[in-house]
Subunit: 406 residues, 4 copies
Amino acid sequence: MAKRNIGIWLFGAAGSVATTTAVALGSLAAGRSPRMGLTSELEPFTRLDLPAWDAITVGGHEIREVTVSGEARRLAQPEGFLPAELVEACGEQLAAIDRRVRPGTITGAGATIARLAAPSIPKDEPQAEACRRIQADIERFADDERLKHVVAVNVASTEPSIGSERLLPADWPSIERRLEDPTCQLPASTLYAIAALRAGADFINFTPSLGSQPPAIDDLVRRQGLRHMGCDGKTGETLMKSVLAPMFARRNLEVMSWVGHNIFGNLDGRVLDDPTNKATKVHSKDHLLSQMLPNRPQTHVSIELIESLGEWKTAWDHIHFRGLLGVPMTLQFTWQGCDSILAAPLVLDLVRFTDLARRRGHVGQMPFLASFFKSPYGVDEQAFDRQFTMLERWASKGQQTMSSEE
Amino acid sequence: MAKRNIGIWLFGAAGSVATTTAVALGSLAAGRSPRMGLTSELEPFTRLDLPAWDAITVGGHEIREVTVSGEARRLAQPEGFLPAELVEACGEQLAAIDRRVRPGTITGAGATIARLAAPSIPKDEPQAEACRRIQADIERFADDERLKHVVAVNVASTEPSIGSERLLPADWPSIERRLEDPTCQLPASTLYAIAALRAGADFINFTPSLGSQPPAIDDLVRRQGLRHMGCDGKTGETLMKSVLAPMFARRNLEVMSWVGHNIFGNLDGRVLDDPTNKATKVHSKDHLLSQMLPNRPQTHVSIELIESLGEWKTAWDHIHFRGLLGVPMTLQFTWQGCDSILAAPLVLDLVRFTDLARRRGHVGQMPFLASFFKSPYGVDEQAFDRQFTMLERWASKGQQTMSSEE
Amino acid sequence: MAKRNIGIWLFGAAGSVATTTAVALGSLAAGRSPRMGLTSELEPFTRLDLPAWDAITVGGHEIREVTVSGEARRLAQPEGFLPAELVEACGEQLAAIDRRVRPGTITGAGATIARLAAPSIPKDEPQAEACRRIQADIERFADDERLKHVVAVNVASTEPSIGSERLLPADWPSIERRLEDPTCQLPASTLYAIAALRAGADFINFTPSLGSQPPAIDDLVRRQGLRHMGCDGKTGETLMKSVLAPMFARRNLEVMSWVGHNIFGNLDGRVLDDPTNKATKVHSKDHLLSQMLPNRPQTHVSIELIESLGEWKTAWDHIHFRGLLGVPMTLQFTWQGCDSILAAPLVLDLVRFTDLARRRGHVGQMPFLASFFKSPYGVDEQAFDRQFTMLERWASKGQQTMSSEE
Amino acid sequence: MAKRNIGIWLFGAAGSVATTTAVALGSLAAGRSPRMGLTSELEPFTRLDLPAWDAITVGGHEIREVTVSGEARRLAQPEGFLPAELVEACGEQLAAIDRRVRPGTITGAGATIARLAAPSIPKDEPQAEACRRIQADIERFADDERLKHVVAVNVASTEPSIGSERLLPADWPSIERRLEDPTCQLPASTLYAIAALRAGADFINFTPSLGSQPPAIDDLVRRQGLRHMGCDGKTGETLMKSVLAPMFARRNLEVMSWVGHNIFGNLDGRVLDDPTNKATKVHSKDHLLSQMLPNRPQTHVSIELIESLGEWKTAWDHIHFRGLLGVPMTLQFTWQGCDSILAAPLVLDLVRFTDLARRRGHVGQMPFLASFFKSPYGVDEQAFDRQFTMLERWASKGQQTMSSEE
């Protein structure tokens, strides 16, 4: 693995996923932590020419009055999940990241997220101005750190759905004009996407927020010769759905109902406690079942904020299905996972694969990364195994045809 | 689907799986029951030229003093699982099957199974004689019913492992000579396989018993130009393992331990309550994890006879795994299934696919049927999705190349 | 047990609980079914002079266009839970009950329940008129069947909370005057209570609806020299809460959060799918935890209608607690019960105990019946074991002091 | 709470329960940790004159080559459960305890435990000698620390059952004579009990080992005017059994089967991996169900060593029961607890209550402590709530009658 000076720019830089990503990267670069959880550290991907862990630099935007270092220490408390000695060992790297973190924007982020903002975050910042400010921050990051390339990743809190996504024009110039129009508010995640793309960065939407999903942003991606993908990292309960639903379908077992209850207690949970933000997330967790199960079972997803659980998410799923002669049977599972520990390696994998895609000359959406997302852009296949095969094929294809690319 | 007069010969003909198979077949032939649970009723397999439901005739061997009709009625009681009206509607077909059922053999079946035998079952029957008797029964079945072809399926109780499988010679003539030697006892399931193959029938080993697994029996299969496959139908907890273990592997989540506790109360459970019989089953349920999980986690499988559960099997699995930075997490699932309802459609699918394989000219093991088995003969791949892809490929390949075969 | 001709009058007579009660009573009277589920069939209660099973006659009000016989047959289908042969054997008794069922009222029942009503149910019936009509029905029942006494039990669907319960006057004469005032609407359950009490019947509120809870109705009970108790039968998840919460409290284990998710698919579920009706039920299922757990943990109760589950209720509870040194631990349980099978014996027990209370001369609320209810009238104790001790004490006290009462 | 200089002498002094007890005591004495998990810190017990936390001194015997300080640090690692800062804060107290720990005996402890012993532990030590040595250690502890009284608690690993308990003579003098007879081996736990009692200490058997259970040891207790109680602390799954079984019994719900699977990975688990040691524990966890459930359901208890779980015990229980009309239903629970965190406060509670019993003049077994044990000496009542009521009565009775005792 050659050193290449790749940058990761994280929107939501001191959030739990971002902080875990930063600590993991510090540990991996120092060879301190095992490579569990990282798909890119598996055969056959280890044979690819992916960026080395110590060639990746982190920066980002944050709206709250917290630091990555402080959050890392908080998450290393007994009720957290980060190993205290690792956090301590990464102290310098985290402090360096904190120096690179710039104030985010709450323009278009919705009321619940806006309430989290530090006093220093501009209020009523016009969206065009926010966009320009963010773009400049990313450009300065690339310059200051002498980066070959930056991949921007949205790991900020889930925004409310704006509801009028379908009314947006499909070409970039139309949206570009609207940016200056204060009556046409775009979501913060879309402003982040525009700013990153204008700054020449690829964009990964790890959340269910709108981000780069509108066709007009895809248009911008292609005009810039860049890459993007989303949305909503597939980490726990939904990963299970994309693994189990195909099993039922292939055995012709008719799923009658699939209920999923999710409880957890972190900031993510507090934001999702707002019904408008929650609606975005529930849709993302729910829709894929009907794509995988031909009879379209009754489904129900709940997400509840239970403070005592902190970063630990527990999901209980109850699947009621029928077999031969219509006999009903039941599968229940309880998933007790730590969302950030599951999500951070996907962020790192995505950045590495995106950088390789760039060097391979890929432009636009990256369907071979579908296995990482709940709602993969441009991909109808929801079965995890088939999505994973897409990644394997992309990896092996590239190997054969692309030896002299960089 | 053309009518073809195919026969299914079931070893363990009045067992729970066989009885359910018989009732299902009667219902399907009459168009009375939905086709849930049947893989062969799914796209793209419905496009294949598979035997029609009303072109299949059932017979078999049974050692206990029960009838298929009686067992069907028993399984239609409130504590059972068969819909009473379906059983009633199939009354005539079940009676016809009962007329075709012949006494099985307990030679080589082990003490626990022998204790279940009706007084009429010959004791101390020499194995060569048992083999000849069974062969004659199957030949008469094919003649009487004017069958084009017979597929024999072993759904009898799990036998104890004989432990010396590896010492058996690998060629059929050597085994054939041993048959006459009373000091070289073969398991009943292997005698059944030999008898079926000599009678010109294909052989499916739906249990973990030895059956046709020895290379010498495979040799016989090929000499006869027949087909066989096994072993141990993958219906519930193990199906889940073959679906979930690849998920952990592909996400590089290190499974530290995988515990599976199985409780149920039917005859199967009573036979498995004998530690020697249980050992065969536990190995079959357990070994595949280490094939799918590179770090070879600690595994534990228990099977306990809990009378009150009857035909309902409940499995509780506890999977302890580590992600990024070594953080431990847990997945638990509870599977509440009815084994016979899950197994019977696989028996029917296997018979239909085996018949098609015959018409396609396939001889020997049938690796494309791996997805149906816990320990597929000749196949190392244990991931359900990849096994299923093998079936899909076989199905589509045949379609293209084999239009004029029969 | 002497024959005494006791009547049970069921509001919601063809509902699932009422139908199960009727079938059970028929079976018990005929000596056909075991006495499982019945507290009154346990030592020491079997020593009490309780009404014999064949001395109890059933009638009731129903608003839907269904019969008890029809519902019993429906619940004896494979997806139901009643043993078909028992339902058949009770055919005559059920038909007799159907002849005694009168049209209920939807006045004050809320929009969701009103939508269930048969065309024959009077619309816009003034509440005083409804009350008089219902009273007359019960009086005629007592006369026709020559009953010594009637116990009326509300097993109708849960009503929306009226919200203004606290504003109701505390004395009966004030409420009696309001009955004639069309602007002061009382809930249907309270009208049922008033009608029953005026007809000389005791009243049991087996639901969380308002019923006889207002002090003014208690006043009426005492003026009439009658008895009443409620509310909301404690059958499954809440029973578990009242058993487990004291365990945590007595071991000084601090419950931090208690989440309970309930899914089921019957009519009860469909009514509770209306948020106003659901609010009444959720409160009833939730409030008792804070009474039993001194630190008042975060609690969450959800109730979701999942059609495929029918009468089978599955509850998943997740209890997060802390022990010594603040170390967090978890208890999860899954309760898979049939609500009507759990509720019907409580209805029968309550009727028998209420009849004994009458003969012992008890008047007013019956705190010794607290163990049967989620929100027992006039009782703060929520621990099931202490409530049960109250029942045992009442039983034994009565035995000593009351030999000559009837 | 007056200072009283009470000693706790722990057999198994550096085991997980003992180490947790030591850390907890250090924290409680310093006012550093909340009092969760401690029954004696609840109303009404806080009104009793119990020893203050800083008036209790710890010593003990240990056979392994580990220290309390070292074990505490190990249990404060990320995969452990002790808060690192508490362990650090207690460093001095733990070091002081280590200076008081003496070598235990493996005489009569069984082969699996003997294999754990440090080289310094005497091999083939005659039992009479072991007994005298241990007695002298305890006497010196009491002298050195100027203790008013010592309570010895057995928290050592579970021994194999000797099988011949019933053949032991019932009077102490007979046993005393046998001590010198090398052919009549007593279990190590019984030697510990004898030594403690001879040294004037009370004895608590927190394990299922034989300890002071034989009538002859009870005879010694009474001759010495001392107290003892046991056996086997009721901490998790069995606590649940003693809470849930009465619920089923009181509702006349017939439990048909109760299966309990326990998995954990600590030293306790490794010792119980020996089938002879495991048999002792399984009996202790199982027998109480048949005492609480009149119909004597089928029960099954398994205990499996799963290394990755460490100190965290997960129990899955599956309870299959029948209600009205024989309809089957299911309750499952998963208990994820930390055994030592659950056990240590019970040890502390038992010591405090035992000391009060002494001051109240109680001699012999202490039935009012039944709620702490799986198999309480001399008590048939297994329902947790009734056992707890015994403790409350004892507490309140003492208060009234015993103001001037010390």
